[in-house]
């Protein structure tokens, strides 16, 4: 059991790695989708709506299968890592779009107006005034989404990805110590998500100094 620890920890690293990437890319896409939806610019707005609806109303498992087997059938062969990553990005972006949209609309228009009256361009107003305020309002929903990504990446087991679950699956089938390995894996997931939440709260204290409703 213990000599397999490095392998398990490597699994933890892959899990963490794929979730962080899925989160970062997801956030960028979600901001773009949220802005598109708010601007109501027709063809793009339609794409954004379809994206959000599919991402939020179909199972994560289905997304991963589509990325791995679905695209595979069309001749696009993704590695298990890339397949899981794209599925998680797809879902994160879908959920976060709605979170961001809510965040944007919670900032009063008058903040934008005040920024523009000081001579800021609209890009500057977003960059310095609107986004920073929005980010602190949606920070907690975002950390939840991050934890969710970490846990959902365990579905990688189904396409043979060697993240924590996949590694555990492999090790238990070699050793037949099913219960032990899965308990250890559960503890590792628990510790990882707790560390992430702890890190997030430390970071929020550094980032967000002023208080805000």
């Amino acid at each position: 059991m213990f000599q397999k620890m490095p392998e398990l920890l490597n699994g933890v690293f892959v899990t963490f790695h794929v979730s962080v990437l899925a989160m970062l890319i997801g956030v960028v896409i979600a901001i773009l989708l949220a802005i598109t939806k708010m601007n109501n610019s027709k063809p793009f707005c339609y794409v954004a709506t379809v994206w959000v609806e599919i991402a939020r109303n179909t199972p994560a498992l289905f997304q991963i299968y589509m990325a791995y087997f679905g695209l595979g059938a069309l001749g696009i062969h993704l590695s298990p890592y890339v397949a899981v990553l794209s599925a998680l990005v797809f879902i994160n972006a879908g959920y976060l779009t709605e979170t961001f949209r809510g965040g944007f609309s919670s900032i009063p228009d008058t903040q934008f107006r005040a920024s523009r009256s000081l001579g800021m361009s609209s890009v500057q107003a977003y960059r310095y005034i609107i986004l920073p305020q929005m980010l602190r309002r949606i920070y907690h929903p975002m950390t939840n989404q991050f934890v969710w990504s970490i846990l959902m990446s365990s579905l990688g087991i189904l396409v043979g990805m060697s993240e924590l679950s996949g590694t555990t699956q492999k090790l238990q089938s070699q050793s037949f110590r099913t219960l032990e390995f899965f308990i250890v894996a559960a503890v590792l997931y628990f510790v990882l998500t707790k560390l992430v939440l702890f890190g997030a709260s430390l970071l929020s204290r550094r980032l967000f100094k002023g208080d805000i409703g």
Partner: protein
């Protein structure tokens, strides 16, 4: 000089400004009074190009505000604006609030921007609040911060939109004192206000707005003390 020439402005079917003309030479303080919905605030928004206009012309130092070729961000640097809601940026300290626009809009160095911000904050009596966050301050202090933030851009004109209307009565005085100070220093200002005493004592001229037109305009003491237009008389008898 700000020159408003026969400006019309509608929101949908509702015509808010019905041919407004007003010239404000440099150094003059004009107060705009009138009932709610009479178009007073809209006029300020049109001068600052926050709202577009349907017809007419607004010139700020001979630049046509609403012409397509006008760089509106550049123009707004000349026009300081303060709103009814204080609109302090809640995620920044008082000093950062005032230093941000000089730094990112005027591209000043950090030190330069901070120096100007400190000077303007002291100017409005917030010299001991640099590191405080706005949500911890009273409405009067937040409004003075908004004034200092606008002044830090070294505007040539100040547009003030009912800046004391959202304040508790005991906090109105400190904001009016700040504006009085600016007037004494020769700042050109257009103040939309419900403070008749302020309009009479501080401004040079008063304009009375009624249903989208200027019903009466003239010397401040005359318009408030001895209004000629029956509409002005009726309005003043209600508010005084």
């Amino acid at each position: 000089m700000i020159s408003v020439q026969n400006v019309h402005k509608s929101f949908g079917d509702l015509e808010v400004l019905k041919g407004v003309s007003l010239d404000v030479p440099n150094g003059e303080v004009v107060s705009v009074i009138g009932g709610s919905g009479s178009g007073k605030s809209t006029l300020l928004y049109c001068i600052n190009a926050i709202e577009s206009i349907n017809s007419g012309r607004i010139l700020v130092d001979d630049v046509d505000v609403h012409s397509k070729s006008t760089n509106k961000d550049k123009l707004r640097q000349k026009l300081g604006m303060v709103f009814q809601q204080f609109n302090a940026f809640p995620h920044m300290s008082v000093l950062e609030n005032a230093a941000l626009a000089p730094r990112i809009v005027k591209k000043m160095s950090r030190e330069e921007a901070i120096e100007i911000a400190k000077k303007e904050l002291e100017h409005v009596g917030l010299g001991d609040k640099f590191d405080v966050y706005p949500t911890r301050m009273s409405g009067g202090q937040q409004q003075r911060l908004a004034i200092a933030r606008a002044l830090a851009m070294k505007p040539d004109f100040m547009l003030l939109d009912e800046v004391t209307s959202a304040l508790d009565p005991e906090l109105v005085g400190e904001v009016l004192d700040t504006l009085r100070l600016l007037a004494e220093e020769g700042m050109t200002m257009i103040c939309v206000t419900h403070e008749m005493g302020f309009a009479r004592d501080v401004s040079d001229r008063v304009a009375y707005f009624h249903q989208g037109v200027i019903a009466e305009i003239g010397d401040a003491k005359q318009v408030i003390g001895d209004p000629q237009n029956p509409l002005t008389q009726k309005f003043l008898s209600k508010v005084l």
